[in-house]
Amino acid sequence: MINYGIAILLLPLLSFIIMIFVGKKLPNRGDWLSIGSVAITFCLSLSLFIMMLFKYDPYFKVEKIFTWFNLGTLDLKIGILIDNITIIMLLVVSLVSTLVHIYSTSYMKEDSRYSRYFAFLSLFTFSMNGIILSNNLLGIYIFWELVGLSSYLLIGFWFEKESAANASKKAFLVNRVGDIGMFIGIMLFFSSIGSFLFKDLYLGVSQGMFSVDTLTIAGLCLFAGAVGKSAQFPLHIWLPDAMEGPTPVSALIHAATMVAAGVYLAFRLFPIFTPQALTIIAYVGAITAVFAAIIAITQNDIKKVLAYSTVSQLGYMILAVGVGAYTYGFFHLVTHAAFKAGLFLCSGSVIHAMHHAYHKLDDHKSDAQDMRNMGGLKDKMPVTFYSMLFCTIALSGIPFTSGFLSKDAVLAGTLAFSSQYPNHFLLSLFGFSAALFTAFYMFRLIFLTFYGKPNSKKVFDNIHESPIQMTTPLIILSSLSFFLFFTFPNFNPLSYDGWFMTLVKSKDSLVPGYLNPTAYQIKEEIGQAHNLALFLSLSVAALGIGFAFLIYYSKLISPDSIYRRLKVLHNLSFNKFFIDEILKKYLIDPFLKISKYIAIFDWDVYDKYFINGFGRITENFSKTVGNLWDYKFLDQKIIDGFGRITKFSGSKLRLIQSGKIQNYLILVLVGIIILYVFQAI
């Protein structure tokens, strides 16, 4: 079992190493190698998954601990942990990864750095599997940064574009901000426990080694890592920019897997979060969900819409963790991975087609990603259209889809939480309004892209359905949005009971003092809120779709009139609430300016005046002494001064004319007198 884990971890790494060094020289530029390795990974994950289904044990767990190094008294231990969650995550990652690999063989065919692209994908798969398999915080942190690296490399894959280069840097740096928080959290835990293992962490917390305050702070610090990686407010800014990368990359990394790592971490750490921490987490999630959804409404770039949608959905998951419904959050993570990856790949298919059309027309100016340039593509690209439609339905939360089940569960969780703590009613309000906006902007996307009149006839004529390597993954992923895959022995489309909910059991909080409700209590409450949530979520989804239909399909309401009426809101939404600009103006630019001042100070002031000042003082002093030597000072001032004084006293010493040698002699006498005075002191 552990060997499976090690194989899953190392195969992509091997492929990365081979590809980066000799990938170009391999036949077919080596894509088969990457695909092969990730496919084997998938097979291994699948066999693990089947094993899990056969065992059907919610508490199944295998762990292997290694000593990384020893420092005398301290053994630094790391290791691999395989349980149901791991297996499900591994399956999701390897599946999406395999499909994206296949998709990419067509999508990236013409790229000159084809083999490097696959090498980076392998690197990503390796790092992501590493996060999933780690049984300790340090391991997670290491792979956490490594997925950041692969994300950096892939976002900046087309680095000739200035915007891509900027986006990749931004992604890395923003993620690092979160990582620093996470590292501080790790240090807080490690300094008390002396180990990074989850096992020891849980043990330590349950033994009450931490005060509630420390635990809150430490938990929030670790959560900061999740905020960065899962693009939660206010560190969400990198994700929309990350869409500069190739679309399959967006599908794999920035929709399905890497961004979900934050949720995965929160999921792992749930038992040690204190109520205070969880409340903050819930609010962060809720705000992100609704905030990103509002922005998504006004975006015109098809990938940007999906990006903000991802941010919003990640907010949901975090919200679910915050309100205690974290297994449902994880459920949403899995379902969302499938249909969001599907959506991205579909959008990629559209962009690919548009791009080719523009290419054929020799038009290099028009934006192949702008939805306003599309329209009516339904008939030209039927496979893409139906796949995308089904995924959209899932995302909007319509019954018979997986999205409905998971979203409904999360909303039920918020509802239950709000009913328990009525002063936190905003959480469920945010949740439901986000659902409303989601349905609206997703159908806006569908209507703008696939319905209506094409923007340009010429382009429209040149649009073709994508090749089979691209459409197959679309079909697979969209079909995975069917509810039955997740509720298998249970055929009720409105209930989420099934293998998933059986195998993924929530744990009781380990925070001492029973501050948090037990897992059973939460489950009961959510069950009670289920029906209400069902009703509400269906109605908001219908409302959202209805609005979208009215505005963008039947055009009964002109969007412009709404824009005009809600100009301020629209501006805010369209400009992403100016978060980037605010951060740049009030945080980054001042910081850079301070750096510049410090550098100037260091080099031109401190060094030049202070350090060299010692030299200059010495030099000037020596000049002064030298002048003293030349008697500019001594001769003119002191000796002549003596003369003046004596002259003033009226004696006949005016005849005194100090010759040079006499000056020396006077100085000797002065010296003796000074010494006499000195010894007397």
Binding site: D630, Y631, L653, L655, I656, Q657, S658, G659, K660, I661, Q662, L665, I666, L669
Partner: protein, 100 residues
């Protein structure tokens, strides 16, 4: 006369010598002032020797000083002569090429 009178005289001589050394421009006059200083010391030696009455080393010392003063004066005068040949003056502050 007691010891103190001699010491006062010698101190006055010493001071006069110092004054002369510092104020005189003429090289020979400077040398003469230096002689005053030496003689002040001589007076001291002899007075101490006479009044302390331990041995004659004070007297001997002053004899040596007289001899050496003569030798020194000889060399100094030779140099001053040289200066006179080169600079055309025996004013010691005229010999001042280096500081310029």
């Amino acid at each position: 006369m007691d010891l103190n009178s001699y010491l006062i005289i010698s101190a006055i001589l010493f001071s006069l010598g110092l004054f002369g050394v510092i104020t005189r421009r003429n090289g020979v006059a400077v040398l003469m002032s230096i002689e005053l200083i030496l003689n002040a010391a001589n007076i001291n030696f002899i007075a101490f020797s006479r009044y302390s009455g331990m041995d004659f080393s004070g007297h001997i010392f002053s004899l040596f000083v007289i001899i050496l003063a003569a030798a020194e004066a000889a060399v100094a005068l030779a140099i001053i002569l040289n200066i006179f040949n080169n600079f055309g003056s025996i004013n010691i502050d005229d010999a001042n090429k280096m500081s310029q």
